[in-house]
Subunit: 187 residues, 2 copies
DNA sequence: AAGACTATTGTTAGCGC
DNA sequence: CGCGCTAACAATAGTCT
């Protein structure tokens, strides 16, 4: 029941990775379908997974060829424009989160000051009703938030540091020995 | 605040469609990125929208070429296998929902019988505590559910009946007159 | 037009079968 | 192994700025 908050990193456990792959691929196909229906546009995707011998293609091979033709029509130089590489996508993400982190820090600081004011000046009745315990927990929540954002940034940076495709996908064909070994791994 | 439950159909209102497109494209890119990181696989997408002069490509032009090469490598005959066309995707969807509809109907029937039993046999204290009003509302909820599933099936079927790409995407260049006319449309 | 916000709906991780 | 379930998490439609 989704107990973890998803750590954005290669899933080492083979079984879990495959399950996640299937579920998420399904979700993606649905979203792609919705996008093309809602907005009346053309899209195509190719997914190369070790679970199928052949790349999976959507919405159809014909559709892919059609969209591809359109893509190949434009001059080489233009093909590089308007593209969002995984790297720049991640970089942008990091920037945004660092901004968020700053904002959260600032907010935290303001909250602390506010709290001090209430404690020393005997503020509004509603606020007085809050016990110190509650205020403390509020503070902890904020700190947790900050921690989480920081961790996320770290993990994104880590992904960017590692060579292009994260860890190499597992070999398609394995000996029985390898399979047995794999089973001993825990994620 | 997401007040509607999303009617899966071409969005006629130009402004709303564009906003939805941008939001959903962003969400898609994120999900694609996550899939490739979590599962360590290769993916690529091409999106042809009227909002950009050139097809948008992800994760990068190079990535697309690489994935394409892999795609083109397989024999023509194989390219058609393992593919899920939009049509078969939708058809599968419809089947599943019709099953769900049957199930819901059955459940509803059972609930009705249960309710009658309780009313005539003076059942458990907890159940007796439910007023008739509450039971009535429960029934209405179930019916609403059934209605919604039915509507969804209808709308999916409608999509399948209409020719491939839903309504033709709007022209890229429009005269001022056309723009003014478009503004008068309400979704 | 482009972002921020937030009530809602939608997706999915971990289980149990 | 793969499916169905459901709490927990994520995406997003409509709104305001």
């Amino acid at each position: 029941m989704t107990r973890k908050k998803v750590k954005l990193a290669y899933i080492k456990n083979d079984v879990a990775r495959k399950a996640t792959f299937k579920k998420r691929k399904k979700g993606l196909m649905k979203k792609l379908s919705e996008l093309s229906i809602l907005c009346g546009i053309e899209t195509c995707t190719i997914i190369c997974s070790p679970y199928e011998k052949k790349p999976e293609v959507w919405p159809s091979t014909m559709g892919v060829h059609k969209t591809l033709a359109r893509f190949r029509k434009m001059p080489e130089s233009d093909q590089s424009k308007n593209m969002m590489s995984q790297e720049s996508y991640l970089r942008k993400n990091i920037e945004k989160m660092e901004e968020q982190l700053k904002k959260q820090h600032k907010e935290n600081h303001e909250k602390e000051i506010e709290q001090m004011m209430y404690q020393s000046l005997a503020g509004d009745k509603l606020i007085k009703a809050m016990t110190n315990v509650e205020l403390n927990e509020l503070g902890k929540l904020v700190e947790k938030n900050i921690m989480e954002i920081g961790e996320k940034i770290e993990s994104l940076k880590k992904i960017m540091r590692t060579p292009p495709p994260p860890p190499p996908p597992p070999q398609r064909l394995r000996t029985k020995l390898q399979i047995l070994r794999a089973r001993q791994h825990v994620n």
